[in-house]
Symmetry: C3
Subunit: 277 residues, 3 copies
């Protein structure tokens, strides 16, 4: 089946299923995460106390772990909820926000990747490079190298292979990779980077679409395609007014997203191994 | 005095008094709760550390306890602030968000109801059913039954009688009950359920109006009527744009609410005991 | 150089530098703080766990300490980040939100002022009076006096002298003082007080502009002038719609602020010592 069509169709599937998404996330953008999930047709639960994290996960069809504004208590909640999600076989999406800015975040990401099976890793290139380096650093390889587009592609493939997951790498060009395939997604709008939370929303959308699809590759493509499409639509409607109105227009666009709008905005190309290496 | 007129008039009373509302609430919608309180004419303080909770309550005319995204520390703060509010004789409004999803929340609600006198219980039907069942379960009665409209009415009356409080039950039809009376409120808009925090705002409004009225029945009616009216007005203005713009328009409508607008939107009918049973 | 011109020019300087601002702040307005920083052209990091606070500060060009919704853990984070910022010589902006409402906040502010060198103290008059009284109370002087405009000026000068900092006092008329100069800023709009977080945004703007200027006096003037200008522009565009739309229009205005807009909105007058006393 054509991936562009398949990704678009997920938009309608999830509106029917209204999956419950358990999000353990930062407080900077927690309201946006909940509203984005509702706008696209899912049902969010935000609960991050270790005393109830795994109990809440039992009600969910998908789990988000976002380490922005991390604390040891939230990490405990993530480990408990992650273990519960793995037992249930529901998708887990990790957003390693700012990994590398502190030992707390770096060791948290290492611990999460070692103990929880992650379905989709959603991050930007410098976060991906940090995670890649975290590992190779143990063998003495320098991780401090600048990342170009083609390095991004190599990184996405390498992390997908190492963690047996789908990697959704956002940047000027978005990349989605699993062990077998790598796709480039063009589009979106640079104003998305002038509003906080657009990356966090992309992560929530990965979890929402993963709850509607056994195959996480089209889910990640649908998620990144949805936020890019919403950014393009929002900029056209409200970009001239400023970043506040643009922000609201992104949520508006999510709430009006459908299969056709999503498919028509997807600018997807598969990259062969020969092109990357 | 006519209740519709009385509820509307509270809108003007509170704008004069500008009551201070102490809110211990979740971080998903804490910004909306503060902005809704300001919009309608009150003055919110959000403070949830047990180290200062009761000290902050001493400055307030009303207290909100919302257990969304609960933690043991926040529960401690609620117990301290609740005790202080009871000593001062100011109204306490409880929103048992998601009671039943975890042992943490269920035991917290039980503890709050056992130790703090609640003035208004604001919740949805499944939360009300859970609280009702929590109690009867101890005597072996099954609480797991689906709730129809008439069950909602029975529930509202039963909880009002058991906890000597006013019950504000939101749903497709809203219900407000105390030990003697039960009212149905029609209206609102279903888009209110596609934005997070509209229930939390209804709870804050209960506290705001209760600070302006010794009788909590008209206060709860004014509160639910206000969010319903705001939803209707907001949908007309911005519903076609999407849920982001609708969200903003709800706050706009709260900031422009007045006695006449509120009274003219209230669709209130008293239900006699004969109708319910 | 003319201060009005100088303050305006900072607007362009910071857009070039895109300084990283580390904010330890309350969760009520944390999203607004991050979006305001992004809108004006800075890059915010919100991290408040003591386990990573000082590590995060090492990446920053400026630090915000906002005690709204304080907890002992956040205070620990502030003390660690503040010490790190002082070691690095980057500006620290303190917002003593609600100092005086509880012993927790009052003793926190005392501890912060005693152990961290503050570059800019951004607060309202009653908070300034509380801080002034905290000190003189130790010598038996009554701090419980009402504050008029001229007292505000005396307060601003006294706190600037005592703490060797710039004081940015917001109110109907804003005041900016250091040890040598005192300025009055007229303008702004009263609707700014009907949206939560406008004071918190003013504080973030102080940190943003301080990261673009070695002299904190023009930075504080630019910051207060920016939020006032944004309030005026937003009211003209969206005030008639309500406080929700006004709120969004403030962020819009911040994202479109430039040197000329800021300079043309600044209504600045220097107050001589003779006028104050």
């Amino acid at each position: 089946m054509d991936l562009t069509y398949q990704a678009g169709a997920l938009c309608d599937v999830l509106r029917d299923r209204q999956p419950i998404i358990h999000c353990i996330t930062n407080y900077v953008t927690i309201n946006d995460c909940a509203n984005a999930a509702l706008a696209i047709g899912a049902s969010p639960i935000m609960a991050d106390a270790p005393e109830e994290a795994d109990a809440v996960t039992t009600h969910a069809q998908s789990l988000v772990l976002n380490i922005g504004q991390l604390s040891p208590r939230k990490l405990d909640a993530m480990l408990l909820a992650g273990a519960q999600a793995n037992r249930m076989g529901i998708p887990v999406v990790l957003d390693p926000v700012g990994v590398g800015v502190s030992a707390l975040r770096t060791s948290a990401v290492r611990q999460l990747l070692e103990t929880v099976h992650i379905s989709i890793l959603r991050c930007n290139r410098s976060e991906a490079a940090c995670i890649y380096g975290m590992h190779v650093n143990q063998h003495g390889i320098d991780s401090d190298h600048s990342i170009s587009i083609s390095d991004g592609e190599a990184l996405a493939r390498a992390l997908a292979a190492r963690y047996h997951c789908t990697v959704a790498l956002t940047g000027e060009t978005d990349l989605v990779a699993n062990a077998f395939h790598l796709y480039r997604l063009e589009g979106g709008h640079k104003m998305l980077s002038r509003v906080t939370g657009m990356g966090c929303i992309a992560t929530v959308l990965c979890a929402v679409f993963a709850a509607a699809s056994d195959d996480h590759l089209p889910a990640a493509i649908a998620a990144l395609g949805t936020i890019s499409a919403a950014g393009e639509i929002a900029f056209e409607k409200a970009g001239h007014l400023g970043t506040g109105s643009f922000h609201i227009a992104v949520i508006d666009a999510l709430s009006q997203m459908d299969a056709q709008t999503l498919s028509s905005h997807l600018k997807l190309t598969e990259v062969s191994h020969a092109d990357t290496q």
